[in-house]
Symmetry: C2
Subunit: 468 residues, 2 copies
């Protein structure tokens, strides 16, 4: 990668463009779009120029999809590599499609390896090859190597620009080396100390170097204990490790333990956010929930999930079908049964959300699994009993039917227990089977609470002779 | 705060204690607990000693609650301030309760202001006062000032230890200052340049200082554009700003624009994770979903939410009550009605998850709200039509009743539309009313899809004369 400018920091006050939540104001967006439409590109450029690259990227994301290319044409000199690095995947793909290989290669050359890889990994193999051909051999080699690692692995995330020095160097040697090599990266917060085989032996925060006299060897100020990231580690694990050990940067090593790259915390922050936020979307079956996704893809993702749920809903309703005779004789059963199944669904969703989060954040281990199960059963019993008594009393008050009250109370307790057990056991089992529990737990748990609710309520009602 | 040791980094390989997911092995935990129980504290200490403070904290979190105090007693010299900083809030409170004010004060004095505040803010006012009295005046003043800011604000999150220098200093002046003042913090990645009124005028990454000759003034290498954090900004906004502008650290300023503290990215990473992950828990009404929360508190939190849902479930079932006559005559209606309401619930949950995430990540702005609403309506129409046709054909095949098939098909389309509209309009409206959409959206949307499902299906069936 060629040297990039140190990122300019965001402006202190941009009251004309940004509101108090740091969002672009609608008036500002409209003014830019008007200038583009009325073919006054200078005006558009003058408006956009003061923005931070992250805000320029936001601008592209919030304007309607059919205006993005015109906007890009009008302010093309402001749409630099930094803006591309910040763009949403779908929006970036859209803009990249409008560029030729030479232009994409220029943009990729200006980026850190990890950002360049993010752009190239989504392209067709053919386009990708063309862009790579148009790049300098060095940049090309770095990207090709990164692309050789699995998707979402540390190898894709790391940058190869880093500062590594031998253990016998003094602080003075390091300072002279840094001052004498302008081509080195400026985006680093720690330097790595390596042995002759290029294996990391320690890490040294820049603040320690700044505070240490020139004559001291770096071996004396470095921390020998360090967190190394294997190049094939999944990015979610990388993020958890950064978080757990409060890392700023970490050395990435290959299978032989040799230093091959560095991951910095700013590359990890958006992964932490994505991985933590995606559970909400996965549990609901909304895919990755990207609002810039092409609408046909969104429909397909969500519909697939809904059709699976339709199957389970029909299964649950076939349970109701078994009791048609009782319902025909006593239609009140049909009125009350959705309460039992629905409340089970709510309780199951609560347990599921807690367990899925605990699994995702590495809080649930083999040691405390059984404790978690007992805990959820206790909670289910307490909530089931409370809700059962409440709905039982309510039913008695409204319908003056003691049998019906006892039946709905018992069914509520049973279905809460089913919900608690299902909510904790389904995701734990899926996790043991190496299936992401966020993706498929909800459908199993809902099936359990729907059928469990109908079966317990209508079954008990039949046994009690309520439909007779 | 007194000077803390630079954090030791996590050990490279700890195969005896950690599994491949970086979790403590059950064998290891059992060995430690056995040593504690059999009163061999030296053995327990020898086992725990090689662990990183974050892993010692994990150990306390995964052992049963009734073993934590004995463990703490056995390895008390290993339970230092760094371990306390990493502990889960509830577990920390439990351990702190067992200590006297003097011991808590010693631990708090060794921590950065933000970590000390995290410990003290959860204590009773009385205990807090006692601990503060036992602290050095300097530390005490820093913590009291931090506690004067609102909870979850930048003021609580920031540390007051930072390096600020005047603009006219040269790089050489900065190096000499840092080498000459051992009491300065070592946890910093950027230095702040201030004017005589102590207002920040620029930021300088340590890597720039390292690479610049001694004679150059810092004013020439600093970045003048910078992201300042107001001291009363909510921590969620702080986290979003760090993420958006890829910050490593940022200056915190008071109402007069004067530099009062610094926030570093490692303080923000766990907030990003918590805030992004909490939506799943909030949407389900599982509170903060902390598995170390006292069980009575968990029951209360979840039960409150379930009781609210019970109310809405009864509301929905009262809609069914309006059609008891039709159901008694044609019980098949009761069999099929949960499919329509349930599928609406699923579709509504999908839309809700996407919209809540978009709001939480600042992707939904005034400019693109209307586009989002149209997008969700389009998706709801497409999915509703597909599911409607599917269930209509299925019903025709199984029950050979064309009227019933048309009714369920139409009801499905209507309820999907209700789900899509509710899923997007409810959270947007709540957000405009400054209510957190993750907390209360689900109950409104479920109510809409339940009553909408029952009303559309049973209502259309009645109009069609199916129950006649």
């Amino acid at each position: 990668m060629s040297e990039t400018e140190p990122d300019t920091l965001a402006p202190e006050v941009r009251e004309d463009e940004l509101d108090e939540d740091d969002l672009l104001k609608p008036e500002f967006v409209r003014a830019v779009l008007d200038a583009v439409e009325e073919e006054r590109p200078e005006e558009a450029r003058a408006l956009v120029e003061p923005l931070h690259p992250a805000d320029v990227a936001d601008l592209f994301e919030i304007v309607p999809a059919d205006r993005r290319r015109d906007l890009a044409k009008a302010i093309h000199d402001l749409v630099d590599a930094d803006v591309f690095a910040e763009l949403n995947d779908y929006v970036r793909e859209e803009l990249i499609d409008a560029l030729d290989a030479r232009e994409v290669a220029d943009i990729a050359s200006e980026l850190d390896t990890d950002d360049a890889v993010a752009i190239l990994e989504d392209m067709d193999v053919e386009d990708q090859r063309e862009v790579l051909r148009a790049m300098e051999p060095d940049d090309r080699a770095a990207i090709e190597e990164a692309l050789s690692y699995p998707e979402e692995s540390a190898g894709r995330l790391m940058q190869r620009d880093l500062v590594a020095v031998p253990e016998h160097w003094t602080v003075g040697d390091v300072l002279d080396y840094l001052r004498g090599h302008d081509e080195l990266t400026t985006d680093f917060w720690e330097i790595f100390v390596v042995d002759p085989a290029h294996k990391p032996v320690g890490t040294c925060a820049l603040s320690w170097i700044l505070r240490t006299p020139r004559r001291i060897p770096v071996g004396d100020v470095m921390a020998r204990e360090q967190t190394l990231i294997p190049v094939d580690m999944d990015q979610e694990e990388v993020a958890l490790r950064f978080q757990k050990y409060a890392l700023i940067s970490a050395a990435v090593v290959d299978g032989n333990g040799r230093l091959v790259g560095m991951i910095t915390v700013d590359d990890v922050v958006h992964i932490i956010q994505e991985e933590a936020g995606e559970d909400t979307l996965l549990l609901s079956g909304a895919g990755d929930g990207d609002i810039n996704e092409p609408i046909a893809l969104t429909v397909r993702t969500r519909l697939t999930w809904l059709v699976v749920n339709l199957g389970t809903a029909m299964l649950a309703s076939s349970v109701v079908g078994l009791f048609q005779g009782e319902i025909a004789k006593f239609a009140l059963l049909a009125v009350l049964m959705p309460i039992v199944s629905g409340m089970g669904g709510n309780a199951g969703t609560q347990t599921l959300a807690v367990v899925v989060r605990a699994i995702a954040t590495n809080q649930l281990t083999d040691t405390n699994t059984w404790r978690m199960v007992r805990r959820e059963i206790t909670i289910a019993m307490a909530n089931g009993a409370s809700l059962g008594v409440l709905i039982g009393l309510g039913t008695l008050l409204v319908f003056h039917n003691p049998g019906l009250s006892v039946v709905i109370c018992l069914a509520m307790i049973i279905n809460n227990l089913i919900a608690g057990l299902g909510g904790v056991l389904v995701p734990i089992t899926l996790d043991r089977l190496r299936v992401d529990p966020a993706v498929s737990s909800a459908v199993f748990v809902t099936t359990l609470t729907d059928t469990g609710g109908f079966l317990s309520f209508l079954g008990l009602a039949t046994l009690w002779g309520l439909g007779g």
